[in-house]
């Protein structure tokens, strides 16, 4: 089996079969990563550009590692060191990069739709590493991978996404991904941080975190940004912590064998207490480890690979 598109723009358009293919492939790569020599020649001769218009540590390092472990040629580009500051448009920048003969572009941008825009002006494969508040498909894929690894299934689980859903691309990709895989998805957060008509996405919406956590198997805790307070959407972070912060007490509502996720970076003591973040049910660091394997799978499959990895 192959993926239908040579791009990974988002999970909204992905089928369950495609997601399973990526997760299965990622399993093979995870095995490779546990070997003494962790490099495979799969993408030898393939040039990948990491185009980061927004600061990122985790995603960027994870992609770079994945690319290098597949033996790809890697070029990294970040907006603050480039000619973007000289007023060059996105289209010009990207066309210049492509003129240097590249095969794949991993792009992170603060505006929704930029990866799609790139597919219109480039021949290369485009991988969305996060666009505005739209999608962050590889994050959701690694969330799915991590949950499947621990729970041995995704179907039927109740997954609650807590926090700043309005500005979260992770939330949207998780909603599409977990829904496609048959999980029951709910979101919970302050009413001012819920995007308009989100209930029409076919999910449950809560403004009471204790109610939302009732009978849940997975809690994905989103990062809360200080800007939300400045923008008037939250009176204070303190109030957020009191009403929505995930602490030991609140975990009692959850099902047995529950899991706590966080896409990082964590604001300890704001959206999640340190005890919870470091608890045995937390898979936050597994998510980071799995991120590399999942991204290797995505790169491999988009470059034309078919399922099995030797």
């Amino acid at each position: 089996m192959k993926l239908r598109s040579k791009h990974l723009l988002g999970l909204e358009v992905m089928t369950k079969e495609e997601i399973n293919l990526i997760l299965d492939t990622a399993e093979s790569f995870k095995e490779i990563l546990e070997r003494p020599i962790r490099i495979v020649p799969t993408l030898r001769g393939v040039t990948v550009v990491n185009l980061f218009y927004e600061p990122s540590t985790r995603t960027r390092i994870s992609f770079e590692l994945a690319e290098r472990r597949l033996s790809a040629e890697v070029i990294s580009f970040s907006a603050n060191t480039s000619s973007v500051k000289k007023g060059e448009t996105l289209k010009d920048t990207v066309q210049n990069i492509e003129a240097m003969k590249i095969d794949m572009v991993v792009v992170r941008h603060q505006c929704s739709g930029v990866p799609y825009f790139l597919t219109q002006c480039l021949d290369a494969s485009i991988i969305n590493a996060g666009d505005g508040a739209h999608e962050h498909p590889t994050q959701a894929l690694l969330d799915l991978f991590t949950i499947r690894e621990k729970h041995k299934k995704i179907k039927g689980l109740k997954v609650v996404i807590v926090g700043d859903v309005k500005y979260s691309r992770v939330a949207r990709s998780d909603i599409w991904g977990f829904s496609a895989m048959g999980a029951k998805v709910a979101v919970c957060g302050p009413t001012t941080l819920m995007p308009y008509e989100i209930e029409k996405m076919g999910i449950e919406v809560y403004d009471d975190v204790d109610e939302a956590l009732e009978g849940a198997d997975v809690v994905n805790v989103l990062r809360i940004q200080l800007e939300r307070q400045e923008g008037g959407l939250l009176p204070s972070l303190r109030e957020y912590t009191n009403k929505f912060g995930i602490n030991i007490e609140r975990l009692k509502k959850l099902n047995e064998n529950f899991t706590i996720m966080h896409p990082g970076p964590i604001n300890r003591g704001v959206e999640i207490t340190p005890e919870v973040a470091d608890g045995p049910y937390s898979v936050i660091l597994n998510q980071v480890t799995n991120g590399v394997a999942v991204r290797m799978a995505v790169l491999y499959l988009l470059s034309g690979g078919e399922g099995k990895v030797e």
Partner: protein, 452 residues
Amino acid sequence: MEGREKLNKSKKRKELAKQSQEFDLAILGGKVIDPESRLDRIADIFVQDGLIKKISPKSVREKSTTKIEAKEAINAKGKIVVPGLIDMHVHLREPGREDEETIYTGSCAAVAGGFTSVCCMPNTEPPIDNQEGVKFVNDKAKEAKCKIFCVGAVTKGQKGEELTEIFDLVQAGVVAISDDGKPVSNSQVMRNALEYCRMFKLPVISHCEDLSLSSGGVMHEGLVSTTLGMNGIPSIAEEIMVARDIKLAEFTHGRVHVAHVSTQGSVNLIREAKRRGIRITCEATPHHFTLTHDAVKTFDTNTKVNPPLRTQKDVEAIKRGLKDGTIDCIATDHAPHSVEEKEVEFDFAPFGMVGLETALGLVVTNLINKRILSWTQAIAKLTVNPSRVLNLKGGRIKRDFPADLTVIDPKASWVVDPSKFKSKSKNSPFGGKRLWGKVCYTIVDGKIVHSM
């Protein structure tokens, strides 16, 4: 007595002589629709010295026996002849952004779209906020292919603070005032404008947008903005200002014309206000009765307009408003933008799409052919209604009135190709779409300025 009879006889002879005289232009055998006089039948129209001189209806059986001749004749058999279309809301970008459009290129686009008159908004660089600005436009308009009417700014520099010298603007010939592109946010300033304009019977065209609610938004706030993760412009940003302006119109007895109505709530508010006898008029654009926010899913920056494309429910409400007369006019909000400006991230692209060359096609395809409006109703919203709002002379097929006429082939279809637009800008989301209703001739003051 005898003397007077003689005089009458000689007058009659002279008239007869006049009749046998050649006309400049004849438009023969077309179905003539004039919404004001409710004329809707096959007729010949004769034009002399830029004026309509004769309208001779024909019965179907009647053989062509008229001996009247003309220097030039248009065979309009099978075609529809209507008053020259009037677009009361366009942006011609001159002065300031001549790379996007000029008054001349805008007028070429207008006549290609069947418009014989357009009203240009004052949000140029600098804005048209004084007599000099109006004179500049009027001067450029002399070279234009259609009639250009100027809308002046409400406030100096369109800053929303101090009123412009409105009497001066009126003397220079403005037909309305507006800060279009921006709202007049301060209610006291809007009140003053409405009260002051009563002296000149001048309408104030209001761009209804509560900036505190719309700020940062790039598309309609709804399910699509939620899934795309884009900042939304809620319906209430428009409706709150529509409600305010209705109250102000009621209180001041001034004349508010609401530009580009886009939401169900706005249509309902205006319908209710009209029922209560408040003097308020409004317009809707072809894109707001054609497209929904679903169009934004392609991230095509040509779908980025202000007010934004709304939901199907809003589109239906606009169609109902057009049908029941709540919405008086159809105007394009023709907003040219350069390719460079539009070929960027959706968030960074400017708002607006061109509309002059697709308006009639969208009206025929989506309103007339779908039986939402009759030809007479639709043409009224493109001719006599805007003419009444702005106190113009055009928009009518009437003896001794300017011969501004549009000849339309209602059955012909065509595919929109923005690269062929006469407009300098090509920012249309309708490329590749098949539309019905083709402009065959556009006639301004008796002169054919466009023909297919």
